[in-house]
């Protein structure tokens, strides 16, 4: 059952659901954040329109700094700007902004403890045709491991907009994970968003538990309750998989875990306590990102069998998003199959 309290997009399961890129949400959110707070400034490394910072640059030319293709310098420059009391957003593709400038982010931003906001666009497999060089599949791991850093991977353009406004208000450095491609819009303007607060989008476990003599989904009905915890562009696929599993008799909870750090421990442990099996889904390596974070949390507190949907220690390659997700076994069908395999255990 979709969570009725979230005011989700009623068309989210329709084939003609609206689509928008996460980067658009960032661009709009940055203008909003800048309107709210005059301390917000923007820096970009020569991809201003591509990461949608051009709307901000047009509206606030005196607060925009074009750094050229200098991601390492841009990160440290923003550190200096933040040390003077401002809230700089730095933007480029995730592979370079978060990837190439990692040490500058670690030392001059996080160790220095200044609130620089890092927007890593074009993350994940879905940047597609650009190929493996440009598909940042390691960025959440790189960012998550640095003390003080917040890591946020919104699920759609509207959530990206809210997340952008929200991170402008936190005292910590933040990493905002964005993507280029069209992504189904799951939320609405009225859907709540709070950093560090995971969202239960779907939960039919109560209904399944109530049905007496229900037909078990498999021979082993004890293993029929499953949580799918997803972030970013994988959340919509997780919802589709969740609905499919529910129709097959599974009790399913689908979580939009938009904040990878700090983790919403109480919500996640509560979710885990209700299920037999946990699937994580991310457009990222299975090591060190969302799946790693959830595994760390559960293994310390409430060990569960898990399946990790993500890229399994491989580089990406050119192709359409659809082809790549299929090739790397990261579709909603792969999530469904993971649950069935477990249940048949």
């Amino acid at each position: 059952m979709l969570n009725k309290h979230l005011n989700l997009n009623p068309k989210l399961f329709d084939s003609d659901v609206e689509q928008a890129p996460l980067r658009d949400g960032f661009g709009k959110g940055l203008v909003k954040a800048a309107e709210i707070n005059e301390k917000v400034v923007g820096l970009c490394a020569d991809v201003t329109e591509s990461v949608r910072m051009h709307w901000f640059a047009q509206k606030f030319p005196d607060r925009f700094i074009q750094t050229g293709v200098t991601e390492q310098h841009m990160a440290s420059c923003a550190s200096g700007i933040a040390a003077m009391g401002k809230i700089p957003f730095i933007s480029s593709y995730a592979m370079f902004n978060g990837g190439r400038n990692w040490e500058q982010i670690r030392t001059t931003i996080c160790y220095n403890d200044v609130p620089v906001k890092i927007a890593g666009s074009h993350s994940g497999l879905s940047v597609g045709p650009d190929g493996g060089t440009h598909q940042a599949l390691e960025d959440m791991a790189l960012m998550r491991v640095i003390p003080r850093m917040e890591v946020v991977a919104p699920c759609d353009a509207l959530e990206a907009e809210k997340a952008t406004v929200a991170i402008a208000n936190t005292k910590n450095p933040s990493y905002l994970r964005l993507a280029r491609e069209q992504t189904p819009v799951i939320t609405t303007a009225d859907t709540p968003f709070e950093i560090g607060k995971s969202v239960i989008l779907w939960d039919n476990t109560a209904q399944v538990d109530c049905i007496e003599n229900r037909k078990p989904p498999t021979k082993n009905s004890r293993n029929s309750r499953v949580a799918i915890i997803a972030c970013g562009t994988m959340v919509h696929k997780a919802l589709v998989a969740g609905r499919e599993l529910a129709s097959r008799g599974f009790g399913v909870i689908v979580v939009n875990n938009h904040t990878i750090k700090p983790l919403d421990k109480s919500t996640l442990l509560n979710v885990a306590s209700k299920v037999d099996f946990v699937i994580t889904a991310e457009s990222h390596q299975i090591y060190g990102g969302l799946g790693g974070a959830i595994a760390e949390l559960l293994s310390e507190n409430m060990p569960k069998r898990m399946a990790f949907i993500g890229v399994r220690d491989k580089f990406g390659q050119s192709g359409t998003g659809e082809e790549l997700f299929k090739h790397y076994k990261m579709t909603h069908v792969d999530m469904v199959n993971a649950a069935i395999t477990f249940a048949e255990g």
């Binding site: 050229g68 550190s79 700007i81 001059t108 160790y111 220095n112």
Partner: protein, 279 residues
């Protein structure tokens, strides 16, 4: 020109600072001696004559900012700050010890008066540039604050430095002043062998900086150069301060092997006697 009295005071201070650098490194048992001694005159002039700052109020908004990019020479920064009144000289003996505010490489979170944490080379100029831009955004050219960045010459191997040099030239930041410790040593040897930098002046000039080469131990020359740098409009300025690594202790002067090691107790005693005698 500095007055004779001021010059003598600065010389005396610099010598006291050198002695404390030797003491603190010997007690710590690790750390960087050559660059710390070599830059004592530059730090003394800055903290006792040039910088607008209030040691008793280290976060005073109106202060000039001094960003130490080559953080490994922090012993001279700490010793100078102690002599300037930021904290007690006794605290110098805690350098590199557990619980000390004087970290092996500077950390702004622990010690008020440190503008940026540093150590990993090549990122200080970017941070100073960011501060200078923020200052201009808020005050135009009217704040009266200057942003000094101290860098090593070996550090200029880092690619990020040249990203910042390029950007500062573009922004025409008159309030940004870089000071390069041109001592010709780095960890693996002489900079002219490890990675030649010359023609260094031409390099910076070609990136649209105002460049001055200056004797890093001549207070009058340094003072004149900084004064001129502060009055250059529409360009960032850099001083290539030629220094002698290990300055003041003949047996270690200009020796790359003293880049990253401290004196032992016996050497420290010898070094201190020489600094005492020569002054």
């Amino acid at each position: 020109m500095l007055s004779e009295a001021v010059r003598e005071i600065l010389k005396h201070k610099a010598n006291e600072i050198r002695k404390d650098v030797v003491r603190m490194l010997a007690i710590a048992g690790s750390g960087h001696t050559a660059g710390s001694l070599g830059m004592a005159d530059v730090f003394t002039l800055l903290y006792f004559y040039i910088l607008k700052h209030k040691p008793e109020k280290p976060n005073w908004e109106g202060r000039d900012r001094l960003i130490l990019s080559n953080g490994h020479i922090c012993p001279v920064l700490y010793a100078t700050m102690a002599h300037a009144g930021y904290f007690d000289i006794e605290e110098l003996w805690t350098l590199r010890k557990f619980g000390s505010r004087l970290q092996g490489h500077p950390h702004r979170e622990f010690l008020p008066g440190i503008e940026t944490s540093s150590g990993p080379l090549g990122s200080g100029l970017s941070q100073a540039l960011g501060m200078a831009i923020a200052d201009r955004m808020d005050f135009g050219n009217q704040s009266g604050r200057f942003f000094y960045c101290i860098m090593g010459d070996g550090e200029l191997n880092e690619g990020q430095v040249w990203e910042a040099v390029l950007h500062a030239g573009k922004e025409k930041l008159h309030n940004l002043i870089a000071i390069i410790d041109r001592n010709d040593i780095q960890i693996d040897g002489y900079t002219h062998e490890v990675m030649p930098l010359e023609p260094l002046k031409d390099k910076w000039e070609s990136f649209n900086w105002h460049v001055q080469e200056v004797d890093g131990h001549d207070f009058d020359a340094l003072h004149g150069a900084i004064d001129l740098a502060k009055n250059v409009n529409n360009k960032p300025s850099v001083l290539i301060a030629v220094t002698v690594p290990g300055k003041g202790v003949k047996e270690i002067e200009r020796k790359p092997e003293w880049h990253g090691k401290p004196p032992n107790k016996e050497e420290a005693r010898r070094f201190l006697m020489e600094l005492e005698k020569d002054f």
